[in-house]
C-alpha cells in the first residue's frame, strides 16, 4: 500500500502475437478472444456502497446488456467478478472462495476507491486495503462511488483488453499462487484454506510454474484437509465405476 506504483492502473502491454508475419496465423485465437469479450457474465459481489450504482448500469437507462454483459447467479458460469466496495477481512475470505470457484479465464474488477487503497476505511484494522494483494485484479474503477458511466467505461476497456489478449491476469494467480496465498495467510492466519485445489487447477490449465509452490503452499499442505469429490460407486464389493478425481 505504500507505493502507488504497485497498483496496476494500466495493464502492461501484452507480447506481440507470434504469427511470423502471417495475418491469418492467429485468426482462430482472435475470433475466440473476440467472442469471449462479447459475452461476459458477471457475478457482482456487492460488498459496499458501489453496488448502488449497478442497478442503473444494468437496467434500461445505461443498459449494460447491449454490450453483452449480463449478471450470472453462480461463479461456475461467470467470467467477471465485480467487487463493489470496501472489503472487510471477513468478506475477503468469501471473495477469495468465490474467485477460486470461477472457471478460467476469469476477470476481476475492483470498483470504488476502497478496493484500490482502502478509501475512507484506510485506517480500519478490519479492512483489506488493496484487493490486488490477494487476487489478480484486471481493472480498477476508482471513485467514491464511480457513476454508471464510469462503470460502463471500465467494462468497455476490459472488453477491449480481452479482445486484444491483454487481460490474462488469471494466469498470474496460478503461476504465482504462493505469493497470493502468502498474503492471504498473513491476513487470515496460517490455518487458512479454501475447498478449491488451486495447485491441481494450475496443472489442469497448464499454468503450473516455478512460483506456484513455495513456503506458503508448504504450510497449507501441512494442515489441509482435502475435499475429494464423491465417486460414482456401484458398491458391489470393490468394483467402482469411473469418474476422474
Amino acid at each position: 500500500m505504500s507505493t502507488l506504483q504497485s497498483i496496476p492502473v494500466v495493464a502492461p502491454p501484452a507480447e506481440e502475437p507470434s504469427g511470423g508475419g502471417n495475418l491469418l496465423a492467429n485468426v482462430f485465437d482472435e475470433l475466440l478472444a473476440f467472442c469471449r469479450s462479447r459475452s461476459l457474465f458477471m457475478l457482482h459481489y456487492c460488498t459496499g456502497c458501489g453496488a448502488i450504482e449497478l442497478p442503473p448500469a444494468m437496467t434500461s437507462r445505461f443498459d449494460m446488456e447491449r454490450l453483452g454483459i449480463q449478471p450470472m447467479v453462480t461463479p461456475r458460469q461467470a467470467d467477471i467478478l465485480l467487487v463493489t466496495g470496501y472489503v472487510s477481512t471477513k468478506t475477503l475470505k468469501r471473495i477469495i472462495l468465490t474467485y477460486e470457484q470461477m472457471n478460467s479465464p476469469k476477470y476481476v474488477i475492483g470498483i470504488c476507491s476502497c478496493t484500490v487503497n482502502g478509501g475512507m476505511y484506510w485506517q480500519s484494522y478490519a479492512t483489506a486495503k488493496k484487493l490486488s494483494d490477494y487476487m489478480p485484479v484486471d481493472m480498477y474503477i476508482a471513485g467514491c462511488m464511480p457513476r454508471p458511466e464510469a462503470v460502463i467505461s471500465g467494462l468497455r476497456e476490459l472488453m477491449e483488453n480481452i479482445r486484444a489478449g491483454r487481460s490474462d491476469n488469471w494466469r498470474d494467480y496460478y503461476q504465482r499462487y504462493d505469493h497470493y496465498l502468502g498474503n492471504q495467510q498473513r491476513l487470515f492466519g496460517e490455518h487458512w484454506q479454501t475447498p478449491t485445489d488451486v495447485i491441481g487447477e494450475a496443472r489442469h490449465y497448464g499454468q503450473f510454474g516455478p512460483e506456484t509452490l513455495g513456503e506458503h503452499t508448504a504450510l497449507l499442505e501441512r494442515h489441509q484437509t482435502p475435499l475429494l469429490p464423491f465417486e460414482m460407486r456401484l458398491g458391489l464389493g470393490d468394483v467402482s465405476k469411473g469418474g476422474k478425481s
Binding site: 479454501t194 469429490p229 460414482m232 460407486r233
Partner: protein
C-alpha cells in the same frame, strides 16, 4: 387340458404353495420360473381359448374363455408379478421378514392377485366376471394390508369403496339379467345395445360406478393413493402398475363391447351437445389433471407415484372413449407402457427406502453417486412417465393427443397437455430431491441396491426403452386386443404407425436423439474431454463456506412460485365430499338404530310386520 387350463391351474397352485413355502429362500425363484413359463405359454397360444372347467350356478353355466383383449392385460399382470416376485425374493424380502412381516402372506397375496386377475380377465359371463371382480378386490385388499399399521388403515378405507362398488356391479348384473334374460357376455354383445336409453343409462351408471371405483376415476379416487403407497414394496409396484387397470378392463369391456360407444353417445344430457360419452371423456380428463397436480404436492415419493397412477389412468380411458383406431390403441398401449415404468419407478423408490430407510423427499438427496443404477432406472422411468422420447410413454400419449386433435376436441387436448406438464414438474421434483443435489452426511456410506432389486428394475426400464424405440412390438398385442374388442384396428409398423395423415416412426426419432447425443459427445471428447469433478461442499452459496452440517439442498416447498399461483385451487373438495358422505351414512345408520332399538321396539316391529305382510298380499 388346453393352455388356459394349465395357466389357471398353475396360478391356482401358487397361493397355497406360497403359504406353505413362502419362507423358503428359493420360493421366489420357483414362482419366477412358473410366471415366466406362464408368460411364454400365454404369448404363444392361439386365441380365443375356452377353459375346460365349467360350473353350474343356479342352473346357469359359468365358464372362462380368454380372448386377445384379456390376454393383453394378462400378459402385463404376469410380467409385473414376475418383476415383483424376483424383487421380493432377495434382500428386500429378508428385510421385510426381519421387520416382523410374513413373507408367506406377501407371496400368497401376490399369487392370489394374479389368480384373481386371470379369472377376471378370462371370464365368459357376468357371473364368472363378478367372481373374478370380488376375488380381485379382496386379493387386492390382502396385498394392500401387508405393510403394517398405516397400510392396514389405508386398506380398510378401501373396503367401503370396494363394497359399494361391488353392490353397484351386482345391481347392474341383476338388472341385466332381468332385462335381457342372459348373463353370457357373447350373447349380451348383441342384446345390450338394443335396450332403451333409460335402461342403458341406469346400467351404465351402476356398472360405471363399480368399475370407476376400482380404477380410481374421479370422484371415487381418494382411497387409491394411500392404499397403494403404504403397501409393502413389491406389492406397491404390482398394485400401482396393474391392479387398478382391472377397472379399465371392465370399463372398456362395458363401453366398447357390450354397450358400444355409439349407443353410449346416444345417452344425451343436452341433446347434441353433451352426451354420456362426453361426460366420460371429461371425467377422464379431470382424472388426469387433478390427481396429477395432487401428486405435485406430495412429499413422499410413494404417494407421489401413487397419485400419478390415478392420473395416468385418465389417459387410458380417454383414448378408449374416443374410440378411433389411434386413440384406443394409445389408451390400451398406455396400460402396457405405464405398467413397465411405474413398476420400475416404485421398485426404485423402494430400493432407496431399503438403503436409506425413508421415502421422504425432504430427507434425501445426492444419491446418484451412491446408487447410480437406481438413478438410471428412475431417470428412464420418469422420462417414460412424463411421456417424452425415447421411452414408450411418449408413443401412447402421442397417440392419444393425436386422436383428440383429429377428433376435434381441443379442450380435452389442452387438459391432457396440462396433465403432462404437471407430470413433468412432479417427476423432476422426485428425481431432484432423491438423487441430485447434496448427499447427506448420514448417506455417505450407503451402497447400491443388491442385484435381486436392480435386475428387475433394469429389465423393466429396458423393456420400456425397447418398446419405446420399436413400439410395433407392443402394438401387435394392442391391435389384437382392439380386434377382439370390436374397435377399429390400428395400422402399425415396427417403428410406430402409418397413416395418410402422418406417420410416427420412433426408430427415426430415437436415432436422431442419439445422433444428437453423439454429436455432443464428439464435440466434448474431440476438444479433449476435459472435465473436473469437485466436491459437493466446494459449491457456491453466496460465498458461504459450506460444511456437511449445512443443508443447501432445496427440497421443501418445491415450486413455491407455481404454488403461489395455483395454491388457492387446492381445496380438498373431494376429501370434504368423502367426509360428508361418510357423515351422512353414519347419521342415517344412527337414526335407523334409534328407530328400531330405542323408540318402542314393539310398535316398530308391529309396523314393519304389517307393512311386510301387506306388501306380500298385494304381490
Amino acid at each position: 387340458m388346453n393352455a388356459l387350463d394349465i395357466l389357471l391351474a398353475l396360478s391356482a397352485l401358487m397361493p397355497p404353495a406360497a403359504l406353505l413355502f413362502g419362507r423358503w429362500r428359493g420360493y421366489a425363484w420357483l414362482a419366477g420360473m412358473v410366471l415366466t413359463g406362464q408368460i411364454i405359454l400365454l404369448a404363444g397360444c392361439d386365441l380365443p381359448l375356452a377353459a375346460g372347467m365349467n360350473l353350474e350356478i343356479f342352473g346357469r353355466s359359468v365358464g372362462w374363455r380368454l380372448d386377445a383383449f384379456g390376454r393383453f392385460f394378462a400378459l402385463i399382470t404376469l410380467g409385473v408379478a414376475l418383476a415383483s416376485t424376483v424383487y421380493m425374493g432377495g434382500e428386500w424380502g429378508e428385510r421385510h421378514a426381519a421387520g416382523g412381516h410374513s413373507p408367506r402372506w406377501l407371496h400368497g397375496a401376490l399369487a392370489g392377485n394374479v389368480l384373481a386377475m386371470l379369472l377376471l380377465l378370462s371370464s365368459q359371463d357376468l357371473i364368472a366376471f363378478f367372481i373374478g371382480w370380488e376375488l380381485t378386490s379382496w386379493a387386492g385388499f390382502l396385498l394392500m394390508a401387508q405393510g403394517g399399521e398405516k397400510a392396514l388403515r389405508a386398506a380398510l378405507r378401501y373396503v367401503p369403496y370396494a363394497m359399494s362398488g361391488a353392490m353397484a356391479v351386482l345391481g347392474g348384473l341383476a338388472l341385466t339379467l332381468a332385462w335381457t334374460g342372459t348373463l353370457d357376455l357373447a350373447a349380451l354383445t348383441g342384446i345390450m345395445p338394443t335396450l332403451d336409453n333409460t335402461k342403458l343409462a341406469l346400467l351404465l351408471a351402476l356398472f360405471g360406478m363399480g368399475f370407476s371405483i376400482k380404477m380410481g376415476l374421479l370422484p371415487f379416487h381418494l382411497w387409491q393413493a394411500p392404499a397403494y403407497a403404504e403397501a409393502a414394496g413389491a406389492g406397491t409396484a404390482f398394485l400401482g402398475a396393474i391392479s387398478a387397470r382391472m377397472g379399465l378392463f371392465a370399463l372398456a369391456l362395458l363401453l366398447v363391447k357390450l354397450m358400444t360407444l355409439t349407443r353410449v353417445a346416444d345417452l344425451a344430457f343436452i341433446e347434441g351437445l353433451f352426451t354420456a360419452r362426453d361426460l366420460l371423456a371429461w371425467v377422464a380428463a379431470l382424472t388426469i389433471v387433478l390427481p396429477t397436480f395432487t401428486a405435485l404436492k406430495q412429499n413422499d415419493a410413494r404417494y407421489l407415484l401413487a397419485w400419478h397412477g390415478i392420473g395416468q389412468g385418465g389417459y387410458m380411458l380417454l383414448g378408449i372413449v374416443i374410440g378411433d383406431a389411434t386413440g384406443s390403441a394409445g389408451g390400451l398401449l398406455h396400460v402396457f407402457n405405464y405398467a413397465t415404468y411405474q413398476a420400475a419407478l416404485v421398485l426404485a423408490v423402494f430400493a432407496v427406502m431399503h438403503r436409506t430407510g425413508t421415502a421422504d423427499l425432504n430427507s434425501l438427496g445426492g444419491l446418484v453417486t451412491r446408487m447410480p443404477l437406481t438413478f438410471l432406472v428412475m431417470l428412464l422411468g420418469i422420462i417414460g412417465l412424463a411421456g417424452l422420447p425415447p421411452m414408450n410413454g411418449f408413443v401412447s400419449k402421442w397417440l392419444v393427443y393425436r386422436s383428440l386433435m383429429l377428433d376435434g376436441r381441443p379442450l380435452l387436448f389442452l387438459m391432457t397437455v396440462i396433465g403432462t406438464l404437471g407430470t413433468i414438474l412432479s417427476v423432476y421434483k422426485l428425481i431432484h430431491n432423491t438423487f441430485l443435489g447434496q448427499l447427506r452426511a448420514e448417506h455417505e456410506q450407503i451402497r447400491e441396491a443388491p442385484w435381486s432389486m436392480t435386475l428387475p428394475m433394469l429389465a423393466l426400464v429396458i423393456l420400456a426403452f425397447v418398446t419405446g424405440a420399436a413400439p410395433g412390438l407392443a402394438l401387435s398385442w394392442v391391435a389384437e386386443a382392439q380386434a377382439a374388442l370390436g374397435l377399429p384396428v390400428l395400422a402399425y409398423t415396427l417403428g410406430g404407425i402409418e397413416s395418410p395423415r402422418g406417420n410416427l416412426d420412433m426408430l427415426w426419432i430415437v436415432g436422431v436423439l442419439f445422433a444428437g447425443f453423439g454429436i455432443g459427445a464428439l464435440l466434448f471428447y474431440g476438444a479433449g474431454g476435459r472435465s473436473k469433478r469437485v466436491h459437493q461442499l466446494d459449491n457456491y452459496a453466496g460465498g458461504h463456506f459450506l460444511s456437511a452440517d449445512v443443508r443447501y439442498h432445496y427440497s421443501d416447498h418445491f415450486y413455491a412460485g407455481l404454488m403461489h399461483r395455483i395454491g388457492p385451487f387446492y381445496r380438498s373438495s373431494f376429501t370434504r365430499l368423502e367426509s360428508a358422505v361418510a357423515a351422512a351414512t353414519d347419521l342415517a345408520a344412527s337414526l335407523m338404530q334409534v328407530w328400531y332399538r330405542q323408540t318402542v321396539p314393539a310398535l316398530t316391529l308391529l309396523v314393519a310386520a304389517v307393512l311386510g305382510l301387506s306388501w306380500m298380499i298385494w304381490k
